[in-house]
């Protein structure tokens, strides 16, 4: 049995494609709603979602979630097609265990 009690996190860099921009609260609420609809309150509670960074003009966000809930969060994000009646597609650009590594990954992909 594992004695590890400290939760492990995953950081996701997101690209939000839409004709409109949304504030931080709207985006996070939409992701929470999607997660709750798909997995219920019990499932969503395991994800432990936090929006770390959001740049509405660039359509870029960094989200943190529990490692165990990563597939649930990715599915909840992928299934979003609308926010406030505007068409939206949210793509995961990169995933990492630390913000530093995530930013490094992003800069590498931008260089390529």
């Amino acid at each position: 049995m594992s004695l590890r009690t400290k939760p492990r996190h995953r950081y996701l860099a997101l690209k939000i494609e839409s004709n409109k921009t949304f504030d931080k609260r709207t985006l996070l609420n939409k992701i929470w709603n999607s997660l709750t609809r798909l997995y219920g309150e019990y499932g969503a509670s395991k994800a432990n979602l936090v929006l770390i960074d959001y740049k509405p003009e660039e359509g870029f966000a960094i989200l943190r979630c529990n490692n165990n809930g990563i597939l649930m969060v990715r599915a909840a994000i992928a299934i979003i097609t609308q926010i406030r009646e505007a068409q939206v597609a949210i793509h995961v650009l990169a995933i990492s265990g630390t913000i530093k590594a995530l930013r490094r990954k992003l800069s590498q992909t931008q260089n390529v």
């Binding site: 494609e17 597939l71 990715r74 599915a75 992928a78 299934i79 097609t81 939206v88 597609a89 995961v92």
Partner: protein, 245 residues
Amino acid sequence: MKRKFVDLNLQLPIHDLDKTRKMLEKAHELGYDLVAANLSPDTDDGTITYIKKLCASVGIDFATRVELIPKTRHELLGHLRRLRRKFEVVSVTCVSKVVARQAAKDRRVDLLFFPRLDSRKRFFDSQEAELASNALASLEIRIKPLLLSNGVQRTRLLSYLRKEAVVALNYGVPIVISSEASETWHMRKPRELAVLATLFDLDFPTGLDAVSKFPLSTVKRNREKLKSNFIAPGIRLVKRGKNCH
């Protein structure tokens, strides 16, 4: 080796070339190496060549696909006889049990799709799976209905897909996940499609196979068959003429 990702069902608006180019560029940006577009059975060779050139300029491979929606067994056989050698991927939308059984046992059919949201009209049961497994047909699961439905409708769809995925895995029928996207908003990265497959209890690696290994092997097999030197699986014509020693 790097995985090659395939979307076997893009609904390209061929009459709108700007939009078609945008969708192909988007597919390339999202990480697809090969896409198949649903074409009308009477699409002329000029249009197909043009789309292939467009795909090549974008940096993506293109496969032709036709979707058959026959009402009877005879109609299906007629379509297959006429169109099999024209298209690289043949998908059959099974609207009746007779059509579903014929499509599953016919080796000319690549993909089986079940559109109805009614348990009595989804014909992918163990008998169907056994036939499909012998004929090398795959079960096609489209993501667009999952994206656009909600509430009870989505719950029911997921429930049917879960049942069908279990049957397919038990009988070794490959599952192919496609987007059916007609707009860029509905396009998702291949890994996102694989993640969405976890909603109907496929594990992530199987989901990845469903957007890479299985569709790619279908296209490869058919391309081999459509070559002029193909005789039968494993037999190829290597030389023609008088001095064939």
